[in-house]
């Protein structure tokens, strides 16, 4: 991570020097406070194996999130972007970076538009986390699929996108191919193996950790880059389809001096968002993949876990209101490796949310979420394997934007 520290330093210097340029520096920010009532298993964030962010020992008035998202346009086509997060949950870093990258968008000179990102950023896979810094714009808590993708994955590398702009050819839409190479994602897979799927709005930060004992996510073990490639298609500004294939290309023989093994995690994601009118949005996404750890050949010494998850969402937006309903279904299945209790997670959940916009700055959200899941390792903690957890949240969010 030495290069990141160096880049951070240089950016701070350049940032200060650019502050005088008109409309070149802007900053989005948000502070989010919650009133929470939760039932069920202790959350994995607090040492349990519950699938939600809050639990009966950690509810009441809670700090949801505060973030600053500065954006500095170095030139007309090059922008430095960052998201600085605080979640107030005793992470090893109270304030941390979630994203930090260079965004390069040359003016198109033909119907192919190139776009590159270099640094650390979320991959283009979710259709519900449309807000700055992986914010779910349809409810507070994203789906199980996108909760996990926000927890264990960050592209720390370079991504290139080629987008065919259809408008110039009389087609009201566009098609994009994207590919990326990255490092520092070798631990990806450890969390879903140990905990199964979850539904939280608590993604990881670049240098922080999640859970107890704390799990860190972004460090290099095998010195081999991973990759992903994908396709997105926007049709008539009504339909967007995203497909992505991810493979961190982890070397199962590699380990840190402390004994941390590289995980090999691969998945495919396919999602669609339909907006048939100004009022309705429908989203569905499916994820399927596997993760492997320890021995580099199949057998008892190799931990191998398959997983798949999907969700369907309907959202109605009118005036200042938005109502959202979502159904999630998720499964993990241990295929090999010796464990007394198989790490097989199976569950489903319902989420209902009401979002109310109050002027340009305030947003109030009520969300009720119910997860029913079975995960045998809970027995080792003295909890039933089968759990029904609920979480009701009222969120008050203040958002702002500054520009210089």
């Amino acid at each position: 991570m030495r290069w990141m520290n160096r880049t951070l330093l240089w950016s701070a210097v350049l940032w200060a020097s650019a502050a005088g340029a008109q409309d070149r520096v802007s900053m989005n920010g948000s502070v989010d406070l919650r009133l929470v009532h939760a039932t069920g298993d202790p959350s994995y964030l607090n040492g349990g194996l519950g699938a939600l962010r809050f639990d009966p020992e950690h509810d009441g008035v809670r700090f949801g999130r505060a973030f600053l998202a500065p954006k500095w346009r170095l030139t007309d086509v090059v922008t430095v972007r960052a998201v600085i997060d605080a979640y107030g949950d005793h992470d090893r870093n109270p304030v941390d970076l979630s994203e930090f990258y260079l965004d390069v968008r040359p003016f198109p000179t033909s119907s192919i538009r190139w776009h590159a990102r270099i640094g650390a950023f979320f991959m283009p896979v979710s259709l519900e986390n449309r807000g700055i810094g992986w914010t779910d714009v349809y409810s507070i808590t994203p789906s199980a699929v996108n909760t996990w993708l926000g927890e264990e994955f960050r592209t720390i590398g370079a991504e290139v996108e080629a987008r065919w702009l259809g408008a110039s050819s009389g087609y009201l839409g566009d098609v994009a191919l994207v590919a990326a190479a990255y490092g520092w994602n070798d631990p990806a897979g450890a969390l879903i193996a140990q905990r199964g799927f979850a539904l939280t709005d608590r993604p990881s930060t670049l240098f922080g950790s999640l859970g107890k004992p704390p799990t860190r996510f972004y460090y290099e073990i095998d010195r081999k880059p991973g990759y992903y490639y994908g396709l997105s298609w926007r049709h008539h500004d009504r339909l967007e389809i995203r497909a992505l294939r991810y493979d961190n290309h982890g070397d199962l023989g590699a380990a840190t001096e402390a004994g941390g093994n590289a995980w090999r995690t691969r998945f495919s994601s396919l999602g669609a968002r339909l907006e048939p009118s100004a009022y309705w949005t429908f989203i569905a996404q499916y994820l399927d993949g596997d993760t492997t750890e320890a021995a580099d050949s199949p057998g008892e010494d190799q931990f191998h876990l398959g997983f798949h998850a999907a969700f369907a969402l309907a959202s109605l937006n009118w005036a200042r209101e938005r109502l959202t309903a979502r159904y999630d279904d998720f499964h993990t299945h241990q295929l090999s490796g010796i464990y007394d209790l198989p790490n097989d997670d199976s569950g489903h959940s319902w989420t209902f949310a009401w979002l109310h916009e109050c002027g340009d700055h305030w947003q109030f959200v009520a969300e009720w979420l119910r997860v029913a899941s079975r995960f045998p390792p809970r027995l080792e903690l003295g909890e039933p394997a089968q759990q029904v957890e609920t979480q009701f949240q009222l969120a008050a969010r203040y958002r702002f934007e500054l520009a210089w």
């Binding site: 409309d23 007309d76 003016f107 000179t109 110039s168 566009d174």
Partner: protein, 191 residues
């Protein structure tokens, strides 16, 4: 009047009337035109201008935009701006100019540059009245990014009589390319 397959009037349709046998020269000093930007959209979405028109691109949005076109009829780029900082752009060749914003991919606008001296866009209800046409035959052509009919079916000859009046009703045979009503996207949405 332009009506869709369902019998309802179609707005934002460009209509040009070219005197038969005339060249493609337009009036010597066309009036300047404005293509505004508001709420992450071009306003109007479709603008028709005479060849040689100077078009201003004020940005009255709350965010900055980077307007560009790579259309053969006019290639240009307006670096990041808000307000009225760039001089007008002269559209000196007839043809279709598709506008985009390099920051906001969903922003698409169209400038239809015509050599015809008589033109306009249909209002809500699909109506347009062109005034001041001398008697004679005119080639009337319609165009819209939302019309799916073949271009050859969108042009016909109309005779303007000695009283200076003629009417035309153009019925489309294919459904319009559907576009949702403009969606108010929050500025803190990434896409």
């Amino acid at each position: 009047m332009v009506v869709g397959r369902d019998g309802r009037g179609v707005d934002e349709v460009v209509v040009t009337a070219m005197p038969e046998g005339a060249g493609t020269e337009s009036s010597p000093i066309p009036r300047p035109a404005i293509m505004d930007q508001k709420n992450l959209a071009f306003l109007p979405r479709v603008l028709v201008v005479a060849t040689g028109t100077r078009v201003e691109f004020p940005n009255n949005d709350s965010v900055s935009h980077q307007v560009y076109s790579f259309s053969a009829a006019k290639r240009f780029q307006l670096p990041l701006y808000k307000g009225e900082v760039h001089p007008p752009v002269v559209f000196d060749r007839p043809g279709l100019v598709v506008l985009g914003c390099n920051i906001h991919d969903a922003m698409v606008g169209y400038i239809y540059v015509t050599g015809s001296p008589y033109f306009g866009t249909t209002a809500a209800g699909g109506d347009l009245q062109l005034k001041g046409l001398p008697a004679g035959d005119y080639r009337v052509t319609i165009w819209s990014p939302f019309i799916a009919d073949a271009p050859t079916s969108l042009s016909r000859t109309v005779h303007v009589d000695g009283h200076g009046s003629a009417s035309m009703r153009m019925q489309l045979s294919l459904a319009l390319r559907a576009l949702p009503e403009p969606k108010p996207r929050r500025r803190d949405w990434e896409y």
